[in-house]
């Protein structure tokens, strides 16, 4: 054996060093013991020990969402891998670049129903961008290189590398490839110039142009190019749940979020526009509702997306532009400045129409003297943090309220599970975000149902001194389930009421954190101010806000209905 040969486990670690990985989120177990032994003997990245593998993947996912870098998780075989699946599927649905390394039983035991064996590549195949089973120590470095490349290029996504235990013990020389080429994988970066020209001319000649921006703008780090372009053409803009922060919410051109719980003005403008530019968005069911209803109004649709399969999937596109959003938007901006195309048509009339929709003030709500309104809590959170916090959320009513009442002016500040809608992500998302931004304010807006799905991570937060502020909107219901049961199931609240809730203050304290219970509207602001005060700067604070049980999220487009068929609070 050559003297410069190192173990497969050490090769794994060296690859992660080459990729300049700062954090690995994981949980040890039999099949990854060799790798963990190598983790122990290095100090270039920090290993974050979670309390459940699902949280490892979520935390790595949030690290990526909040930084743009590839998130890395390390789990063992069998249950370690199956526990990771929810996290992987969550990242896949939102196109988050991640590399998940899973241990596998030794190659000679594969297929023997060995202890902690499962077909990890088989189980994860439908929810990864790609996955690999490494069968030879010689292939570890090139496979991990490919994994990082595939995860972070094109339309990003999670990539899993499954490594049998014996492979991590065998020795080989370490040689990390400088570059990687896959003949079967060549993402298109540059948009078609003819299509881009056509798109610009359509937009400039539109009477009612509209921009619809999605998660692709955030993931593609294209928000400054988008902002420049939208301001230059003066058109109104809306954003999907995943795209929030891609364009500053405080700008007067911004109409708020669209979709099932979008604003009245955003949904109406989307329906009534004559030229629509979709940027890094995918016309999904929660955004446009019923596609037939959407298409009942004639309009020309331009769609910029890096993934050709996103184009004309649910809605037929007139001008498809396949390319990286930043590249296409840069071309649009260049074209706009070079050709000195003047805006011919005034958008005054269009904005007049929009202002009428705006005047419905669809997000207004009545504060109460006795009951805490959840919207008020989020508004106050925005005010106390001066809009400068990273906000993670779980899934449900609180998620929608956070999206509606915490306007984001910057990208990568709003961390939530939009596609898969995974309850339980909020706390691990806050962990990954806080580790990536140790000096930033990180708040997890959650509910008493969601938070309990990964509550064990309070222990991880203690170990790593993460001063997360948990804003628990506690209405003693699975709020969104209850809302649907109220609207569509005759108030039959089947299994949506949470009996036997824990005392969250004591629970937080048991984990070594600070707990607060807030029951009066007048205590909301003082509690939030205290939580974000210097005194508690180093501490995790669990704020249990006892909120109005019957509050609903408005506006709402009922399932299967169209954009202009919203129910507002006043309709009921």
């Amino acid at each position: 054996m050559n003297s410069n040969h190192i173990s497969g486990a050490e090769i794994v670690i060296r690859c992660l060093h080459e990729e300049k990985v700062k954090f690995v989120f994981g949980y040890p177990g039999g099949a990854v013991l060799n790798i963990y032994d190598a983790v122990f003997q290095q100090n270039k990245f920090k290993h974050v020990l979670v309390r459940h593998e699902q949280a490892a993947v979520h935390a790595a996912d949030a690290y990526s969402r909040s930084t743009g870098k590839v998130g890395v998780a390390l789990v063992t075989s069998g249950p370690g891998a199956t526990n990771a699946v929810t996290g992987i599927a969550t990242a896949y649905m939102d196109s988050i670049p991640m590399v998940i390394i899973s241990g596998q039983v030794p190659t000679y035991a594969i297929g023997q129903d060995a202890f902690q064996e499962c077909d990890t590549v088989g189980i994860t195949r439908p929810c990864v961008k790609h996955n690999f089973l490494v069968k030879d120590v010689k292939d570890i470095a090139s496979t991990i290189k490919k994994a990082f490349y595939v995860a972070s290029s094109g339309r990003p996504g999670p990539v899993l590398v499954d490594i049998p235990k014996d492979i991590t013990a065998e020795k080989y020389e370490f040689n990390y490839p400088k570059s990687v080429h896959l003949r079967s994988y060549n993402p298109i970066i540059k948009g078609h110039s003819g299509q881009i020209k056509k798109a610009l001319s359509l937009l400039l000649n539109a009477k009612k142009p509209m921009i619809y921006s999605g998660g692709g703008v955030v993931l593609g780090d294209a928000s400054s190019q988008l902002t420049k372009f939208v301001r230059a053409i003066g058109a109104p803009i809306t954003s999907t749940l995943m795209g929030l922060g891609g364009f500053p919410a405080s700008d007067k051109q911004f109409l708020g979020m669209l979709g099932m719980h979008g604003t009245y003005e955003a949904n109406m403008a989307m329906q009534e526009c004559d030229v629509l530019l979709a940027v890094g968005a995918r016309f999904d069911d929660r955004v446009i509702g019923n596609p037939e209803h959407f298409l009942s109004k004639p309009r020309t649709i331009i769609h910029i997306d890096i993934d050709p399969s996103s184009i004309s999937k649910r809605v037929k596109i007139d001008i498809p532009i396949v390319g990286h959003v930043i590249s296409v938007l840069t071309d649009l901006n260049d074209l706009l400045s070079k050709e000195k195309i003047k805006q011919n048509i005034s958008l005054k009339h269009w904005f007049k129409e929009i202002d009428q929709w705006r005047s419905t003030n669809c997000l207004s709500f009545k504060n109460d003297k006795k009951l805490i309104k959840p919207q008020f809590v989020v508004q106050t959170l925005h005010q106390v943090t001066k809009g400068d916090a990273f906000i993670t959320s779980d899934v449900g009513q609180h998620q929608m309220w956070a999206a509606q009442y915490y306007p984001f002016d910057k990208p990568r500040r709003w961390i939530n599970s939009g596609g898969l809608g995974t309850m339980g992500v909020g706390l691990p998302y806050a962990m990954g975000t806080q580790l990536a931004h140790p000096d930033a304010m990180v708040a997890c807006v959650t509910g008493e149902a969601s938070i309990q799905m990964c509550i064990q991570e309070l222990s991880t937060c203690k170990q790593f001194h993460l001063p997360i502020k948990i804003v628990n909107l506690n209405n003693r219901y699975m709020g969104m389930v209850r809302q649907w049961q109220e609207f569509f199931y005759g108030n039959r609240y089947a299994e949506s009421y949470m009996e036997a809730l824990p005392d969250f203050v004591k629970l937080a304290e048991a984990y070594g954190h600070v707990g607060m219970k807030i029951e009066k509207p007048s205590d909301v602001e003082p509690a939030l101010k205290e939580a974000f005060s210097n005194k508690l700067k180093e501490r995790l604070v669990f704020m249990d806000f006892i909120t109005d049980q019957k509050e609903n999220v408005f506006p709402m487009i009922p399932n299967g209905k169209g954009l202009s068929e919203m129910i507002t609070a006043e309709d009921l």
């Binding site: 195949r125 439908p126 790609h130 896959l182 003949r183 399969s309």
Partner: protein, 163 residues
């Protein structure tokens, strides 16, 4: 409409299940699927017979192209092509059927490749619809067993699918 899609993919374990998994996960039809290595051992060629509206076929092609292991995809129906399928069929060849089975085999330009006292084993190639026609034409009671490869296809003339 019925479409025949040809694709070249990396000859790696799991590649087949990525394709079949895509079809089941997205609810696309598969009428038949055949796969075998090509003259370049690093590549497999797969032929999938599917059906769907133009929009669905467009999505199928895009989704197939998105799979990392898939190198090239061609919808044969976009141009002229030749389609062939092999069927091996075992039929009764006792006194009652022997002459008729020989005749039908000749009419469909099949070949008898195995003979026993009571049966013929016949190979027939052609388009899938020709093989269907053969099955329709003979007495159902005479069929003992059939096995079909699923369609393979190739473009006519200069239409070439190669890396």
């Amino acid at each position: 409409m019925r479409h025949i899609i040809s694709l070249l993919m990396e000859n790696e374990s799991g590649a087949l299940s990525r394709v079949s998994g895509l079809f089941s996960a997205r609810g696309y039809n598969i009428e038949s699927l055949t796969v075998a290595p090509t003259e370049d051992a690093s590549l497999s060629r797969m032929t999938i017979v599917t059906s769907g509206s133009d929009e669905i076929i467009e999505q199928i092609i895009k989704q197939l192209n998105k799979l990392i292991d898939v190198v090239k995809v061609l919808d044969l129906n976009d141009g002229k092509f030749i389609e062939r399928e092999l069927m091996i069929v075992k039929v009764k060849a006792n006194a009652q059927y022997r002459d008729e089975m020989k005749r039908m085999c000749d009419i469909f330009r099949g070949r008898i490749i195995d003979v026993s006292d009571s049966s013929f084993t016949i190979e027939i190639t052609g388009s899938s619809s020709k093989l269907d026609a053969y099955i329709e034409s003979i007495d159902k009671a005479a069929i003992l067993e059939t096995v079909r490869t699923g369609a393979s296809g190739i473009g006519r003339g200069d239409r070439i699918l190669k890396v």
